[in-house]
């Protein structure tokens, strides 16, 4: 059966097309595009992707308005049924605002927008998103954000680490995130939020600085877990 992925577009999303392209490039099937005002998701989804961007112009707080848009009620219900959900950058902010993931993303500690390719250390290898990575492996994925400074109280951070729910860490401090956390998983491991953009690293380029395929592996991990499900 073909892999069925949906990409949600909010007003102000700007990485939705990149996400759809990455999903089609890795799965061979076009992703279904869903608008934020829709009340229902397509049936039998294998993945829901919340893309990067500046939904609702980052009004109030990054992701706050999108988290309360009509489609998010359906996304929350699907997540509760166990449908995998991937939120990247603004998508991660939406997932925390919707309380599908703990914590919050504050303004970068250095106040500056950070836009470069960073080294990430893989901290979890058991989720559908990370199962093909090796523990402690370094992967290179681009970041581009102003509000990526992950915050949670000490008790929550200890819980996330204790339960193996930190998916990725920045190998070197990037934005002030608590314990250098770059991505976190839900308790059942089926919701991943991450600030770095795997959809921007799906093929190598002639100039190494302009490409990279480590992000492609994350999508291949999802497909592999789909194939064995």
């Amino acid at each position: 059966m073909a892999f069925r992925a949906a990409v949600i577009t909010f007003p102000g999303s700007n990485c939705d097309r990149d996400m759809a392209t990455a999903l089609e490039a890795t799965s061979g099937t076009a992703a279904i595009r869903v608008w934020h005002a829709d009340a229902d998701l397509p049936e039998r989804l294998d993945l829901i992707a919340l893309p990067g961007g500046f939904s609702y112009g980052d009004y109030l707080r990054s992701g706050a308005m999108a988290a309360n848009s009509p489609i998010m009620r359906a996304v929350i219900a699907a997540a509760e049924r166990g449908v995998p959900v991937l939120g990247v950058c603004n998508g991660f902010q939406v997932l925390t605002e919707a309380r599908l993931l703990p914590g919050a993303l504050l303004r970068n500690a250095g106040q500056r927008f950070v836009c470069r390719t960073v080294d990430l250390t893989v901290a979890n290898t058991t989720s559908p998103f990370t199962s093909g990575f090796s523990a402690g492996e370094t992967i290179r994925i681009p970041v581009a954000h102003h509000d990526g400074n992950y915050y949670a109280d000490t008790e929550t951070l200890d819980m996330l680490e204790g339960e193996g729910r930190v998916a990725f860490r920045y190998a070197a401090s990037c934005n002030g995130s608590a314990r250098d956390i770059a991505g976190v998983l839900s308790a059942n491991g089926r919701v991943l939020g991450m600030m770095p953009h795997p959809e921007r690293a799906i093929e190598d380029a002639a100039v190494p600085a302009l490409g990279g395929a480590d992000g492609r592996r994350l999508f291949e991990n999802i497909l592999a877990s789909f194939a064995t499900a």
């Binding site: 109030l60 707080r61 706050a64 309360n68 925390t96 605002e97 703990p102 914590g103 919050a104 504050l106 303004r107 970068n108 500690a109 250095g110 106040q111 400074n149 915050y151 949670a152 002030g176």
Partner: protein, 77 residues
Amino acid sequence: MQVRVLVRLKPGVLDPQGRAVHHALEGMGFEGVADVRIGRLIELDLADGTDDAAIRQMCEKLLANTVIESFTIESIG
């Protein structure tokens, strides 16, 4: 009726904007500034008789993110 909601970062949550403004004030020569914290003021014009529980829900569900922020509600007429 009008209500004023003040949303603040909780104590202990880093406020990079506040810190930058603090440094700017010091750079301008103002002395004795111990700390700067930036919050958000939201004024709501509501139907008369809107109950407190409904206003609290507005704050908890949207106006503030209680993971990082606290809020106070004040009636202003």
